[in-house]
Structures are given as structure tokens and as C-alpha cells.
Symmetry: D2
Subunit: 205 residues, 4 copies
């Protein structure tokens, strides 16, 4: 699978989805893919960010991570998205990035990309399912192929059993409440594996 | 119902949802409510807006419409949201406004607001259902009471029969493909009616 | 609220949603409503039921609970549905009951019923959100008014924080993994309260 | 793609989804697959069926179509589901069949099946989107790979532009309101194509 290219696209305010994104990169690379971690731009006004020291610090700490671009979407064979829920749906930051892809969509350049998604929330049932599923709704518009983790490996059960995409609950201090590292890596491997099949299939057409 | 206050909150790039919002205001006022039309701020970069003359013109033509604020959400007893789909989900512009309501949410100030939503798309099945339903997912986080139109009036059938919220299909020239004016006004009246019951009920508690 | 009538409609294979339904009845009655617990008919073939001693026993133990009828839907001002997930959606048993309501729907007899839903699953993120949200999709077709619990009371946070409806995770031995009794009772009270507002409002029209 | 096996699984009361299923079989075969059309068993009571002469006639006319079995799910590399909406969700008949797959699920035998779905409704926005998307929620539990049509071919635009799955609106006399035959065939071809990539990929692992 050395030829598969994966863009791990995340939004993170205080670090959880950044960590999940890093694990996804590790899992994708371990599966033989070339992986790139990119963040979507912050949209929140400075006063909101500065009112939360952890948010401000995380933004500074990750300033070296490249911002996601349309070129990343063209480049990649597979996408793994990671983001916290915002009221049971994608954060505006992620949606804003997605909403800039109209040109790629019109040219059919997002067709047959293989995707999966991940999420986090502060409550155990705070929109983890809804957020990932809403992402997939958009992916269907793109003509992407959805390879959610399902229950394709026992590690899914150990990490909360979310078949739509790995999710984690985070307490108010930012501590993950479940151990999802292996589930993230499994999901990344699965996404890469399906993408390798699709890529090879398209090349042989 | 003279006491019911309704905020009609819309995002519109080229005018469709602005028109629907105006109809909703008319319908709410005809039902005896006090209604206010507010737009969420544009997020798209200038170059995107300027590349589309209709978008640019609409933005200029509606510069007098007040921007939605958190105070509008506090003020209103009921919300009617109107927005085009963007890949089967809310436009980032609308989500960005929603994502600024964390403080109101934390204080419980969005509880028992009565809501309904409307949408548009360029294809007949281009996300009209999904967009309104995703809005409602967020409304459940707010503790709002959802009064979708259902099939509560024959006018719903005549306008496309979307029970989640009135929706319209728009061709590439921006022409609405169905006559939804009466359906919008019915939806507004229904939202106001349910809100009047809820408001009176809360006052008498 | 002594006039509000609530139908608590559940499907339960091994008892979890029966217990949740009983709590909902208690919560509704404590809020002053008249509540009725009804079960939807079993659809599974005998061999499936008999292969699982707990399922068989529960079916026998609850044979005295009346089966849900269309008359219950007409009678009630509010519905509380409770059911386990089956692959992220309603069990066929519940859907079959719902699918018999075409006549009531056509006559508009389900309009303005106030509803909320509850669910259970074997994994923490095994479809708890999706199942309740899919129920609400159907409720929108009915013209019902959706009063999901949201975060209208701190007890929601303590029980898993599902704003769509109270949900519980059940281990393979049938033990509930969270203490949701108070959350169920709060949800029932909220459903009754909103229904009392709606009922009074309709009477005064 | 001569090796790809497709099960076209439908529920139809009065014939629409039977016709769509036949088109899907034709499309799959034209793409080189081996395709099998199977119907899920009727659940409605005889009095309901007999009260509708068209329903009764269709049931008799299709008695020769084999009923869907678990063996069909094992046999097939890809599934195409077709069903009318029932209040924005799957008909109980389809859900009942799906709910019998617990054993296959537990053994992982539904993993990596490639799927897409189709739907119909009596209103243009009567749950066409919601029904197909709810099917996909279940498919994620199965570990299936979702290959919705998206906008992968211009024919999608001509047939209503539903990116989740081909859908059709049917009037009260049962006449399809859009010409979706080519869209169905395109969807079938796409499902087969993706399934051929997945199948070959798995064989080479």
C-alpha cells in the first residue's frame, strides 16, 4: 500500500482531535501509506480564543501544522476527518473548509476518494454519532466512498463501539475518557486498505 | 398571539433564502407575531463573492438587513431558520453563527424556544431534507421545541411535500422551481402558534 | 397537568426498555399525567425468541402488558417511545407498529402530539443517538411536536448527556451501565409539561 | 467484472421498487456482474393488503420472485436495496429482514460488502433522502463500504439529483414522476465497479 496518499484533516480547539489526527497519521503510515496531517483554519474571533487559555495555547502550539488546502484534497487518495462536535454537527471551521470545495466538486475531482471520520464530545452521547454521520452526508455529495470502521476489529468494542467512526469523550479538563488510540489506528489502516483497493482498481480500468 | 416574538434567521448567497425569510416574516406577522428578519454574516472570501456577480449584488442589496446577534436569540420566543444546502448540511456561515451560542446554551437561555427550518438546493433531492434535519439535531442540543410543518396543511403537498421544513429547488439562474410562498407562510404561522402555546404555558407555571 | 394523557410505547426483547418505560410512566404520573404503558407486538419468529432464554422469559413475563393500538395514539396527548437500537435504527417491531398508522396520518389525527424517545444499545456508541433521531424523522411526518430532553436539567449530564433522548448502554448480561432512572423521569416530566402547554393552547383556540 | 455477485433486495407494495430493482439487475448485468433480484417478505396483515387491489395484485404477480435469505447476503459481493419510504424511514418489511442478520454480523460476514440504496415516496420531499441515509446508518454497523451514486454521472442530475441514492416520486396512481431508469442503471454499474475493486483487493491480500 505504499502508494496510497492520505490527508488527515482535523479541527481542534484544545488538542483532542489533533492527537487523534496524529494517531491516524501513525496508523496510516504503519499501513504503508504516505500521510499528511493538516488543520483547517480557525474561524473563531480572537476574543473567544483568548478567553480560553488552553485554546489559545493549542493554537500557538500547532501553528507549524500546515493548513488544509484544496491541493491536499486533490493529492490524497483517502481522507480521514477528525473534529469535535459542535451541537451535534461539524464545527463551522471544518464546514467552512468543506464549503470551499465547490470547484473540485464541479470537476468531479472528489469522486472515489475513500473517507472515514472521527469525533469527540464532552458528553458520552453529546453528538459523537451525529457529527460523523453528518460528515458522511457531505461525502456522498462528493461521490466519495465511505469506509467507516464498523465492527471490523475487536478494538472497536474496547473503545466505545462507535461503528460510524472512532469517537472519544473528553472531560472539562481535556482528558480523554476512553482509550481510543488503537481504534484510531485501526480505522486509519482500514481507510488506507480500502483506498488501496480503489486506487488499484481505478488504475487498472 | 400578539406577544410572540419571532427571529427569522437566514443565510442567502443569491437571494432565495432572503425571499423565503421575508415570506416567513409576513406569515408570522399575519399570525399576530412580532417578527424580525436577520442575516448571518458572510464568511466567504471577497474573491469568491466577487467572482459571482449575483452573489456580490445580493450582498450589497441586503446590507441594510441587520446581522443576527445573540441578543436576537434571547429576545425571540421562536426561531425560523432559512438557508441553502451546502453538500447536504448547513452552510458554514449559519453554523458559524450557531457555534457562537455556547454561552447562551450554558445558561439554558435557548431552552423551550420553538423552532422550524427551511432550505433550498439546486437539485430536487440535493440535500433539502438533510439540511433541515441537521439543523434540528442542533436544536435538540439547545433544548428547543421542534415544530416542523409536517403535513399539517394541504399547502405542504402543493409545495413539494417536505414535512421537515419548506424547501425549494432553484435553477442555475436562481429561479425557484416550486411555488412555496404559501407553504412558507403556513410554516411561519404554525411556528408562531406553537410558540404562543409554549409561551403562555411557561408564563402560567 | 392532570388532564395530559401519555402513551409510553416500547419494544423490549430482554427487559431494558420495559424498565425504562415503567420509569417513564412513573415520571409522567408524578408530573400529574395519566400514563399508559403499552408494548408493540413481537415480530421475531418463535425459534429466535426460544433460542434466547432471557428473551423468552421476558416475553412471558410481560404478556399482561397491553399491546399498543391505534386507539392509544388517538387517546394520548403525548407519546414517549422506548426501544433498543437494531443496527442504528428502530427495531422492526416498533417500525411495524408505526407503519400501521397511515389512516390516522391521513386524517391528521397525529398532528400536535408531543413526543420524545429513548433508546438502548450494547455499545456505548452503538446507535443510541441515531435510533432516537430516526424516530423523530418519522414524528415530523406525523406533524408531532418534538420535545427532546436537551440539556434542560443537570440530570441529563449525569446519565450520559444524550440530548436527543435518554439512552442507556447494556452489557451482555442485560445490566444497565449508567444510572438513567432520574433522567428518564425528567424526560417524562418534560414531555408532559410541553404537552400540557400544547393541549391547553389547542383548547383555547 | 464477471465475478462480482450482486443481490438486489427490494420491498415493493405496488410495484415501483420492483421495477427499480429490475433496472438495477439490468444495470448490474450490463456491467458484467451476476445479479439476483430478491424481495423481502410482506409483513402487513391480509386485511391491509386486500383493502388495496393494486397491492394485492402486485403481491400475487411477484410471488415467483424468491424471498431474500441470509444466504443471499453471504453469497453477494454487493447489495443494492430498494424500498419506498414509510414516514421517512425504511418500511418495517425491510427492517425486519435486516434485523435477522445478527448472526452474520457477529461472524463478520457482512464486512466489506459494497452497498447502495434507492427509494421512492409520494411527495417530492417525502423522505427520499432520509430513507436511503437511514439504510446507510445500518450499513455502517455491518462494516459495509458505501458507494452512493453522488454526482458521478450527469444522469444523476437528470433524474432528480439525489446523491445518496436514486429516488423517484410516485403519484397516487403509481406513476413515476421522473425518468430514473438510466440513473438506476448508472448506480448499479457504479456499485458493481466499486465491488469489483474491493473483491479483487481482498483476493490479493
Amino acid at each position: 500500500m505504499e502508494n496510497v496518499k492520505v490527508a488527515v484533516i482535523y479541527y481542534s480547539a484544545t488538542g483532542t482531535n489533533y492527537t487523534m489526527g496524529q494517531w491516524a497519521v501513525e496508523g496510516a503510515e504503519a499501513a504503508g501509506a504516505e500521510a499528511k496531517l493538516v488543520r483547517v483554519p480557525e474561524l473563531a474571533p480572537d476574543e473567544a480564543v483568548h478567553a480560553n487559555p488552553v485554546w489559545k495555547q493549542h493554537l500557538e502550539d500547532t501553528s507549524h501544522i500546515p493548513e488544509a488546502t484544496l491541493a491536499d484534497l486533490e493529492w490524497a487518495d483517502a481522507f480521514i476527518f477528525s473534529m469535535p462536535t459542535r451541537f451535534g454537527n461539524l464545527p463551522a471551521q471544518m464546514k467552512q473548509f468543506i464549503d470551499t470545495t465547490g470547484g473540485l466538486w464541479m470537476n468531479g475531482q472528489l469522486i472515489n476518494k475513500v473517507v472515514s471520520g472521527m469525533s469527540s464530545a464532552q458528553n458520552p452521547h453529546g453528538g459523537q454519532e451525529a457529527t460523523v454521520k453528518n460528515l458522511y452526508t457531505t461525502m456522498m455529495h462528493w461521490g466519495a466512498i465511505i469506509a467507516s470502521p464498523g465492527y471490523t476489529d475487536p478494538v472497536t468494542f474496547a473503545s466505545g463501539g462507535n461503528p460510524y467512526g472512532t469517537s472519544v469523550t473528553v472531560d472539562q479538563e481535556g482528558n480523554m475518557q476512553e482509550d481510543v488510540e488503537e481504534a484510531v489506528k485501526h480505522q486509519a489502516k482500514r481507510t488506507v486498505t480500502v483506498a488501496s483497493w480503489v486506487k488499484k482498481g481505478m488504475e487498472q480500468q
